[in-house]
């Protein structure tokens, strides 16, 4: 156990020494890895913020029910009674056409236009909060409501939420795609860096082998080297994303306040940050392992 720890400690020290021994190569590799990883990490940051924004901005989904223009008071009361009795309707609020007209007249600029109209162009309407706001349940409820008498138009207010949801799904797929592509890029960068290290350390590898070194012993410093490259590259990516977040925070807050929203751009979450660093280190390790394995089979 202690010999095992000792050997891992030695391998880690050797890997660190090799990183420091070629500072220019190391910095260039870190920059390449960092920029590559910053893209999916930044995408994830933006996506998380968009999700947050959507969740805060979306009101409880509702259904708007517009009656025919010709519907009289009795018809309105009839619909109201039916809505109250419907098990899928949590609540229904009547917005009478006279009320709408009065509100529109009061609003700046529209008053004169409304005044010029020969008769009230507005419908009696109900705003319905469904008992179950799952998209399918709402779809079904809307279909049922369309069958009521004197109904002009039924509108699902959840439509835009679903559109946003679909857009976010595209965003998520995009981030995933970037992650796969640039993760493969990271493996390629470490593969190549470690290949050069292996080639320049060939004499040492050969001698170590003749002196009784196992494959694991020879592989280990290179794997640590790859993992460190990945980890530090991940850190560069994290810093790039954090810098971008800071940079964008003020303008975003300004825009949000113009929309009377208290939205503040959030940095990459702790979980996402950890996943970024751990993933980068693991991919670096993988790239190094593949590189050394290829060297072993080339022999």
């Amino acid at each position: 156990m202690s010999a095992w720890l000792l050997q891992h400690g030695q391998a880690l020290r050797l890997a660190l020494r090799r990183l420091v021994a070629t500072p220019v190569n190391t910095l260039l590799s870190l920059l390449a890895i960092g920029i590559a990883l910053a893209l999916p990490a930044g995408g994830q940051m933006l996506l998380a913020n968009a999700l947050q924004l959507a969740r805060n901005a979306a009101p409880a989904p509702q259904i708007s029910l517009y009656l025919d223009l010709g519907a009289d008071r009795r018809a309105v009361q009839d619909v109201e009674a039916r809505l109250k009795a419907h098990p899928s309707v949590k609540s229904a609020r009547l917005i009478a056409r006279e009320e709408t007209l009065a509100r529109m007249k009061a609003s700046e600029g529209l008053g004169d236009v409304i005044e010029a109209l020969p008769k009230n162009p507005f419908h009696d309407a109900f705003v319905i909060t469904p008992a179950d706001d799952a998209p399918q349940a709402m779809e079904q409820l809307a279909a049922e409501l369309r069958k009521l008498p004197k109904i002009g138009h039924v509108q699902l207010d959840s439509d835009w939420v679903r559109r946003l949801d679909a857009l976010l799904r595209i965003g998520r797929t995009g981030v995933l795609l970037l992650m796969l592509l640039l993760g493969a890029g990271l493996v390629a960068v470490t593969f190549n860096t470690i290949r050069l290290q292996v080639l320049s350390g060939r004499a040492e590898i050969e001698v170590s082998r003749l002196l009784g070194a196992t494959d694991a012993f020879i592989r280990r410093p290179f794997q640590y080297h790859g993992a460190l490259l990945g980890l530090l590259g991940g850190l560069v990516a994290w810093l790039l994303v954090a810098g971008t977040t800071l940079w964008l925070a003020a303008p975003v807050t300004e825009v949000a306040s113009l929309y009377r929203s208290g939205f503040v751009l959030q940095p990459l979450s702790a979980t996402d940050s950890l996943a970024l660093l751990a993933g980068a280190a693991a991919l670096g390790w993988l790239g190094a392992s593949l590189s050394v394995r290829q060297h072993f089979t080339d022999r």
Partner: protein, 215 residues
């Protein structure tokens, strides 16, 4: 200790480096291996260390059949051997001390104990004062002794050397040979491929001729 049982090594396309070689070396023996250039001396040593595998017959070291060892077991065989190579294979990017340290790092020796052992090995070959030097600063004879120190630092019970006194002047060669004799004194089995076996006293001698053991 070492037993060759009708061992042979054929390189493609059908060149016999060793053919039908049988002999036995006991614990604590010092044996020299002589023969013309290309007679198969290096190949024979490589078979013992598992660097090459026999194409026929068997090579046994400490009772283990080297030819049938799995790839993963070869490193552990080599840890019981001290190898001195014809071209020495020193690492010129690190100090004398670190060169001798390498075998102990490989086996995962605790640092303090390893340091003592390295110094003892360097002392044995008369290089303790040069432990901080780089190998390039050493003379030919010193480099050869450094290679020996690295071979014995793991305290192997079998020491193999390929032409350890080649390219050395007579006095230096005698010096190096004396180091081997001292290891024999403490019970280490020593097998040396050499042109000049008079340096090693009057040892038992194996002579190879075109890959076959001469009588």
């Amino acid at each position: 200790m070492i037993r060759f049982d009708r061992a042979s090594k054929r390189y493609p396309p059908g060149i016999d480096a060793l053919a039908d070689v049988s002999f036995e070396i006991g614990q604590g023996e010092l044996v020299t291996l002589s023969g013309h250039s290309g007679a198969g001396k290096s190949t024979l040593l490589k078979l013992i260390a598992g660097i090459e595998r026999p194409t026929g017959g068997a090579v046994l070291v400490n009772g283990q059949n080297v030819g049938s060892l799995k790839r993963g077991a070869i490193p552990y065989l080599r840890r019981n051997l001290g190898l001195v190579f014809q071209d020495q294979k020193l690492l010129f990017d690190r100090s004398v001390f670190d060169n001798v340290m390498l075998p102990l790092s490989i086996t995962g020796f605790p640092a303090a104990e390893a340091k003592r052992r390295v110094q003892a090995a360097l002392d044995k070959v008369g290089l303790l004062a040069r432990e901080k030097a780089m190998p390039i600063m050493l003379s030919g004879g010193e480099q050869q002794r450094l290679a020996i120190a690295r071979a014995v630092v793991g305290r192997p019970n079998l020491l193999l050397a390929d032409e350890p006194t080649a390219h050395l002047d007579a006095a230096t060669a005698a010096d190096v040979a004396r180091v081997f004799l001292e290891f024999r004194e403490v019970g280490v089995t020593v097998l040396i491929a050499t042109y000049d076996d008079r340096l090693f006293g009057a040892p038992r001698r194996l002579t190879l001729d075109h890959g076959r053991l001469a009588a």
